[in-house]
Symmetry: C2
Subunit: 262 residues, 2 copies
Amino acid sequence: MMFSQVVMVGAGNVASHLSSSLSKVIGEQLAFYNIKLENSLSMSKFHGGKVLDNLEALDRDSLIIVAIPDDAIPEFIERLPTHLSVVHTSGSVPLFPRRKNSGVFYPLQTFTKGIPVNMSEVPFCIEASTPDFEAKLLALAKMLSDKVKTVNSADRAHLHLAAVVACNFSNHLFLLAENYLKEHHLSLDMLLPLIKETAQKAQRLSPKAAQTGPAVRRDQNTINKHLDALESKPELRELYADFTKRIQHEHGQELQRNPTKD
Amino acid sequence: MMFSQVVMVGAGNVASHLSSSLSKVIGEQLAFYNIKLENSLSMSKFHGGKVLDNLEALDRDSLIIVAIPDDAIPEFIERLPTHLSVVHTSGSVPLFPRRKNSGVFYPLQTFTKGIPVNMSEVPFCIEASTPDFEAKLLALAKMLSDKVKTVNSADRAHLHLAAVVACNFSNHLFLLAENYLKEHHLSLDMLLPLIKETAQKAQRLSPKAAQTGPAVRRDQNTINKHLDALESKPELRELYADFTKRIQHEHGQELQRNPTKD
């Protein structure tokens, strides 16, 4: 292994999933450090590995992975001795300057405790302050995933923003659909195959080619029925009207001439 | 089989996918009718089955499946001889009255030509004017899918509206993410594992429990960075701000007290 040990800081979703994968490939070389000792104890209990009660004594071949809330990262990293090699796992926090070995180890995935993730398919965005450190981080990431890339801070921020739009916001649409169905005593279960297929189509088709539904078909009759049905739900109605307009604007006139049923 | 033959009307996405599945279970009992003969010829060439040039001579044990654009359904069905058994495949068109055997055969899925769909997992919403006809339609649908339900017109319309919100609108978010990445010379490919996982999490968790990202974490620092990055994209910026507000409103205060990194 390229580091004498890997110290995970954090006990949230990213820290848990990374620790679970790391423990399989580096075993006892994984250790935990948290300001709250009980967090390290529970991580160690779950994933194996040592618990550290301070980071001062670490040798310079160790790696510290800081997987804590974005807002807390700068202060935490700035307090660490400068001889230590440190990465964070955030999409939107820049690379830290003023350290010899400073890096980013960003898994571009949504992690939820208790939901297993196939880490080998997770894109890892790696950035480092020196070519040597970058090579080591790339090698570590490749032990976990087949999709490892060097990505600079600007591109990482763009990817993170796009991920929020494509995924966090989509999940919120699922919630709005569920709330609407519940009010009519129906379950989101009926839509799950459709949700799955929508994501699977994105793997094979561009989102432009994959778009279906009344907006892109310019089926004004159905659109009007839906807007009428949402008369008493002004917020959802506004979202419906806004997306319909956006979809029709984005798809221009090209589909108006060739409507198909879907 | 419960019908002497099944006549598919239409040549779009739904007609193609249904024909492909039907031909596997009813073979030569599948036939095609379209106002444009060339559509029937190409459907027949692709899926097998006879081409009909009129529907007047059909016997009363036949079933006509009308899978054409919603706007064209009423006129088409009203012209058919009233002794014929007819269903349409639309989420939003009501059951036709004034016919003995009138029904709905609605597959709740997004279909795109050339993208295979596992029909056995597609929920079918069945509605019929008589119990006898309903029983026959349920039996036919069960030859195609394991997820067949009787659903009345009002509930079907609710499901269709929710499907538009959860799926058509999500797909548009994928397009917005792709457009944003393209402007920065990045590819949506990097987000595909995340898109897949977002849909897979919905199969196991409620959308409320599955929500991650800066909005639900109330990570105002990241939200501000994203809004700044979108300064020159007012439309996407507006959508970002709107979803952030909606997510925070929907999730109330409960997550503010216990932020986790994801």
